[in-house]
Structure formats: structure tokens, C-alpha cells
Symmetry: C2
Subunit: 272 residues, 2 copies
């Protein structure tokens, strides 16, 4: 029951650490979908159905839906994953962060309106801003730690005393204090393999969501070697564009399947 | 033209530093609105029309709409403010923060889909995550600095070297580096009056959005005295629940108007 259970089952069942990021960009959809009024849903459903047995999770990025007013498509997409591929968890990538009563509304949005199994959140506002998410023990709470972008240095690398950087402080605080229900994970970018190893050393077996392989250039071997747990799991290695837009023709779903399989197999070479 | 211009004009025209936060809670709506399928819009529009000449801005909080699937109501509400009360800027309180391409989608969501004049953003991911917002020179970018909640201590108070705390580092970085287009502001909670004075001392005339008076207990005199600029402006003092739910009967809009006027007048006693 719950996100962490489903994630562990999916790692085993599909022998995969791949998380497919669902970042729909209508301008990049194949020609056959142009003119489809429900193209965002149609495209994402095709990707989901083509890859569900090759992944440990799906991760729709909410801004890609919200910018097009496609909240309804997002809701139907998550319902489709649950109905057609039970046991594959869905992470709503929303990076929310707000104070008490508003954080509660964001938890309602993610878990009740959309039915997501986990959500990404921003730690800048502190523990009470994350508590309404943490309190949902069956749901995953994936906290930003060291993000994949170059600007992540600006704050996350600041030395906050005792020789620790801000992202290291976040990692330890989450592992030691925020994870009382065992439902926390952290975001660490694939573009920072040394920091990934550092975080793994600080947080035990906590799952790490790792974006930044593929289009952003993160190295798969380094990510797996530095980030895996002792049993060869512990990672959700997220790829979006490199899978979604692997093909640009009518065979886009087949191309996505091939790309997801190739990433899974590449990861598995370094996993144990 | 643009958010900063409109804000300065509204400070003068309405002689007000009050920002009314639009945080609709259907359970707290007056009985007359129960059963109204468009109650969120109806309620917020009534508040807006009752207070528009007493405020310097409106600030809808997006989670309060998203939790109810009321994106359409939010869109119509912002359009209503612009049509019925031209020159009163609308701040979309979304606290977004994500990396490059996704940040661009959040900017599209806030400024193009919803037509907001400004948006709140989270600095944890660093400058490149905020750049797509900063690039919209006519729009306001209001960056979280020291938030009003108790948990804001957890990260924002960390000493990041040279005796500076993280929120002080954010304040100076925004004022010195991120404000190239002159479209930045900061969020500093009314619950931290000493920190408000400290931030004002570091950022010159940068506008400060100050939530936390009213329900959260921030002291108006301390906020104005510590946060105003030399000309008696520079603040957007935000109140949500204390105005929205000042009355619970059919006269809720009149009660909201009276509460907004009382807050404006109380602020103005300490302003110059």
C-alpha cells in the first residue's frame, strides 16, 4: 500500500529505475496529432501505454499542462495510469511550497484532485510548509535538494556552517527529521554526480529522484554508481524529452518505447 | 506601463498600501452563495468590487482555486479586475520555481494564460530558474525572502557566511543582481518585524510584499515603521482572511470594505 510500496514493487517487477517524465510540448507532437483537440492527453497516454512495463514511475510536470489550460487532461492521464497500469506510481512534479493553510490546499490539489501518488515540493519555506504533505503517509513527498540546473549553485551550494552546504543540510534534515512516516525522497540532479554520491552517503536508503540524464547531459554510469543503494535500487532516473520525442513521426510511441528500454538497459549495466 | 508603474500609481491614487489576498474558502462563504455553481468567482468579484479603490493590489492565491478545479474562475477574476478596475495590479501568488524550460511554462501560465501583472516565485533553484520571469520587464517578480510562517527559520535563518543569513543573502542578491529590469520585489512576513527592517536596510527602495498581518498576528505599526521607504511607500501589506471573512452574512462585501478601509487607515497612521 502506498507510494513507497508501489515504487519498490515496480523497481523489481519491471527491473527498472527509469522514470518517464511527461512534459508535453504540443509543438513537438507528431503531425498526426495536429488538430486533435485532446492532443496532450492522446500523446501522453500513448507514451504511458508504450512504456509502462519498462518504468518504475511516471512523472507528469504540471506546468506543461497548466500553460495550456489542460488540467483536465492531466487528471484523466493520471486516472488512466492507475486504471490501465495498476502499481505504477505517478509523481506530480509541481515543486509546490507555501505556508500552512495554503500548503494544505496544494496537498489537496496533488493527492485528491489529481490522485497523484507522490509530489515534488520545495523546502525553502521550512518544515511546516511541507507538513501537510508529510502527514499523508501513503503518499510520497519528494523534496528538492540539489537540482540539475546550473543556477542550483546560487543557494544550494552556500556553506551553512560546520562545513555543510545548504543542499547537504536539506538532505540530512529530511532523512533525520522529516521522514517520520518513511514517505520522503529527494531530488538530486544527474548533472552533479559527486553531489549525488555525497547525498547518498548522508541519507541511507532514501530514494533519490534524479532528473538530468538525456537532454541535460547527465552521465548514466556515474548516476547509477554514485546514487544506487546497496541492493541496486534507490533511484528514480527521470528522462523526459529524450524519450517523449525520440521519434517525430507516427511511430513516436514505438520510438519512445525503444528509448525507454535502451535507458533501462544502460542503467541496469551499472546497477549491481 | 507595467507592474511597477501601476503599483506606484495605485499607492498614490488610493492612498493605500493594502493588498487584498484572494484566498477563497467555499466553506466560509455566506449562506447566500451556497448552491451557486460559480460561487468562487461570485465571492471574489464581490470582494474586488467592494475594495478596489482602497487597495494597491489584489493577490489571488492559486492553490485556493486549483484545489477546487477553479482555474477558469481565476482567469475570469483577473480579467474582471483589469476590465472593471484598470490600474489595480494583480499578483498571482503561486510561489513557482523550476528549471529553465519548465520555468518558461510557469511564466506563460502566470502572465499569458492568467494575465497576471506579477507573480511570486521561490529562489531555491537559483537565478536561471527565475530568469524567464525576470525577462518579462513589464511584469513584477516577487521573490520569497523571509516568509511569515514559523518554519521559515529552518532554512532562511541559516548562516551562509560573513555573518549573513540565507534570507539576507537572497535579499541582497535580488537587489544587486536579479533586478536589472527594475521589476523585482521581495516577500517578507509581517511576523518578523526586525527582519523586515534588516531587509529594508539592504535593498534600498525595492517593494516588499508583507503577508501576515491580521489572522497571523503581525503588528501593523511595526511593519510600516520598519518596512516603509523614505517616501512612505514601498510596501504591499497583504491581508486575506481578516478582510474576506470580516462578515459571514449577506453583507460580507460591505464588511470586507470596512475591514480594508480600517487596515488602510491604520497603516496610514504610521506611514509618514
Amino acid at each position: 500500500m502506498g507510494f513507497m510500496h508501489d515504487l519498490k514493487q515496480a523497481w523489481q517487477r519491471n527491473d527498472s529505475l527509469v522514470c518517464v517524465g511527461l512534459d508535453p510540448e504540443p509543438a513537438r507532437f507528431p503531425a498526426a496529432l495536429h488538430g486533435d483537440a485532446d492532443a496532450i492527453f492522446t500523446f501522453c497516454r500513448a507514451i504511458v501505454d508504450a512504456t509502462a512495463d519498462l518504468v518504475c514511475a511516471f512523472k507528469p510536470q504540471i506546468a506543461h499542462f497548466a500553460a495550456h489550460g489542460a488540467e483536465d487532461a492531466l487528471q484523466r492521464l493520471i486516472a488512466h495510469v492507475h486504471a490501465a497500469h495498476p502499481g505504477v506510481p505517478v509523481i506530480l512534479d509541481a515543486k509546490r511550497g507555501d505556508i500552512g493553510s495554503t500548503a494544505q490546499h496544494y496537498a489537496t490539489e496533488a493527492f485528491d484532485r489529481y490522485g497523484a501518488d507522490a509530489v515534488t515540493v520545495n523546502p525553502y519555506l521550512g518544515r511546516d510548509s511541507v507538513q501537510p504533505f508529510l502527514d499523508r503517509a501513503d503518499k510520497g513527498v519528494i523534496i528538492l535538494c540539489r537540482t540539475s540546473n546550473p543556477g542550483s549553485r546560487d543557494l544550494q551550494e552556500l556553506d551553512v556552517g560546520s562545513g555543510r552546504k545548504l543542499y547537504q543540510h536539506v538532505a540530512e534534515t529530511v532523512a533525520r527529521e522529516w521522514n517520520a512516516h518513511g514517505n520522503c525522497a529527494l531530488v538530486v540532479g544527474a548533472t552533479w554526480p559527486a553531489e549525488l554520491a555525497d547525498v547518498r552517503g548522508r541519507v541511507g536508503e532514501l530514494p533519490l529522484l534524479v532528473p538530468g540524464v538525456g537532454a541535460q547531459g547527465g552521465d548514466v554510469a556515474a548516476v547509477v554508481t554514485n546514487g544506487r543503494t546497496t541492493d541496486g535500487n534507490g533511484l528514480l532516473i527521470s528522462s523526459s524529452r529524450a524519450i517523449l520525442y525520440a521519434g517525430s513521426g507516427d511511430d513516436f510511441a514505438d520510438a519512445a518505447r525503444a528509448a525507454a528500454r535502451a535507458l533501462r538497459d544502460e542503467i541496469n549495466r551499472y546497477r549491481r
